[in-house]
């Protein structure tokens, strides 16, 4: 029986189709382990080998990886949510209600999206804390730390733009409070210091540019939707690629050497 099964497995893994997909064999050698990483598009950002201490959970806290995982979860659940959601003031709230009550697993989908987003904010902050505590921003990783700071801001901004989309009281007023700050921007906000009163008004300052109006309204909803679903994730993806690439180019994960 066992012999039979082994023969079958061999037959499958030696077939032309299988070999066209997976180019490495399955022998337990260093060469195969190396090829498995090098020849896989999803794994090839990893080096073939790393120092043993990089496996240590106590050292890395695994927070960078968790942040990326949370981003992937929000991307997948976010795309699914987009099938049911229209960023129009008349529909937005009703669509979220429909997600909760009518659509199979709609509530679970929304929960996962929201909690993964919150989780991402927590893990990205802890990731920064860990990187600071281990002095991992020091030469030659200065630039990657700067990219990381921008990614931290992007995480906040992604979460913040998403906060408005349910279009309920919680969303509306949290975003009102958050964006009210922009009107106090020096020079560029109509209530900020040094703003020329006859030029900068409440309908052309930075807050107006952010909201698409003088208060949070339908055009804000559309703006935040596009920022949340397309513009910011795109920038985030590009910077993440840069961030991961630089981790490797700057000598891999930091260690005492």
């Amino acid at each position: 029986m066992n012999e039979e099964r082994k023969g079958l497995i061999d037959k499958i893994t030696n077939s032309d189709i299988w070999k066209s997909i997976f180019r490495h064999g399955y022998e337990k050698t260093g060469r195969r382990y190396t090829l498995q990483v090098l020849q896989n598009v999803w794994l090839h950002l990893h080096p073939p080998r790393i120092s043993r201490h990089a496996l240590n959970f106590r050292f890395t806290w695994c927070m960078g990886g968790i942040t990326f995982l949370m981003f992937l979860v929000t991307a997948v659940t976010g795309v699914l949510l987009m099938f049911y959601y229209r960023p129009v003031a008349e529909y937005a709230f009703r669509d979220v209600q429909a997600l909760e009550f009518d659509i199979p697993f709609g509530m679970l989908l929304r929960n996962m999206h929201r909690w993964a987003a919150h989780g991402m904010v927590i893990s990205v902050m802890l990731h920064m804390f860990r990187v600071f505590l281990t002095g991992s921003y020091k030469k030659p990783r200065e630039f990657n730390w700067a990219v990381g700071v921008i990614l931290l801001l992007i995480t906040f901004f992604l979460s913040f733009t998403g906060y408005l989309l349910p279009w309920d009281q919680l969303a509306y007023w949290a975003v009102t409070v958050g964006t009210n700050m922009a009107r106090a921007t020096p020079v560029l906000g109509h209530e900020g210091p040094f703003a020329p009163a006859d030029i900068i008004t409440q309908s052309n300052d930075v807050r107006f540019a952010l909201l698409g109006g003088t208060i949070v309204g339908p055009s804000t909803l559309l703006r935040f939707y596009i920022l949340h679903c397309i513009a910011v994730p795109l920038v985030a993806s590009l910077l993440m690629a840069l961030h991961f690439w630089r981790v490797r180019k700057d000598g891999g994960i930091s260690g005492p050497l």
């Binding site: 802890l126 002095g135 009107r183 106090a184």
Partner: protein
């Protein structure tokens, strides 16, 4: 008390509740490893040159970690529903109106500074300061391992900023700020009619200055003195030291300015809470 229970079990506050445990846990974990390093010295090179294959060793770890996190997220998503209040109404302002929880430290700053400082200048400086860290911290030690002894100043400043000025203020903003943005202790009832007399006065007033022009110059002198005297004093004291030679004047000015900007928040908090100081510097264009 019922109100507080309601508050801490709000679905959106779960992350903050989680952080009440996560932050102390990770501080403890880092501290344990830092003390180990400080006692026994930096781990030797031999152990670190020990390389392992990414497949299967690292990939296995990543996979296990991903499964555990997805399990936690799955349970969290099944157990707790995302909040949805009534439909938005621009005519109905809730009291208190709170920003999302991760911005509450910024909103907390609004109590102590005008919006242009609390909402624009200080957040901008936080970003600039964070990016500047690797370029102004010239200490080559403590790279890639936990330690306290080798970089006490950097750790103290960052930990103070992150833990006290970011996390603690966030928790205060979430759990203790009620209607009218007044402080309510957990056992207190959130009374929307609570009146807190505003008896704050400007710093110049405390010093007996009543004339606007004099007050303006007095405020300018205090703020300028705050940013100049300390740095000049230390510069004069340390000017021949090796540390300052390596740091250089430009870096020294940046470090001291950023540090003093950060400390302006706790100083203003103390001035406000202990002495009812409203503004330190009142000028015709802005107030600080």
């Amino acid at each position: 008390m019922d109100n507080f229970l309601l508050l801490i079990t709000k679905p959106d506050n779960v992350p903050i509740l989680a952080m009440l445990f996560l932050i102390p846990f990770f501080i403890w974990l880092a501290y344990k490893q830092a003390r180990q390093t400080d006692l026994t010295g930096v781990p030797s090179d031999a152990a670190l040159n020990d390389k392992v294959y990414v497949w299967p060793y690292l990939c296995r770890n990543e996979f296990i970690c991903a499964i555990i996190i997805m399990l936690i997220l799955g349970v969290w998503s099944i157990m707790i529903d995302a909040p949805l209040e009534e439909m938005s109404d621009p005519a109905k302002t809730p009291n208190p109106s709170k920003a999302p929880w991760y911005f509450l430290a910024l909103q907390e700053m609004l109590v102590y500074f005008d919006p242009w400082i609390a909402g624009v200048v200080l957040p901008g400086l936080i970003i600039v300061g964070l990016i500047a860290i690797p370029y102004i911290d010239i200490n080559p030690k403590g790279k890639g391992y936990y330690t306290i002894k080798e970089r006490p100043f950097a750790l103290a400043v960052f930990s103070f900023g992150f833990i006290v000025l970011w996390i603690v203020l966030m928790i205060v903003g979430t759990f203790l700020r009620g209607p009218g943005w007044n402080i309510f202790m957990p056992w207190e009832y959130w009374d929307p009619h609570k009146l807190v007399p505003l008896t704050n006065v400007n710093l110049s007033y405390l010093f007996g200055i009543r004339d606007d022009m004099t007050a303006n110059f007095f405020g300018f002198a205090v703020v300028a003195g705050y940013f100049a005297l300390g740095p000049i004093f230390y510069f004069w004291k340390l000017k021949s030291s090796k540390f300052l030679q390596e740091l250089g004047l430009v870096r020294y000015v940046i470090v001291s300015s950023l540090f003093l900007c950060m400390m302006a928040l706790p100083i203003k908090m103390i001035l406000r809470l202990a002495m009812n100081v409203k503004y330190v510097w009142v000028s015709p264009w802005f107030n600080i």
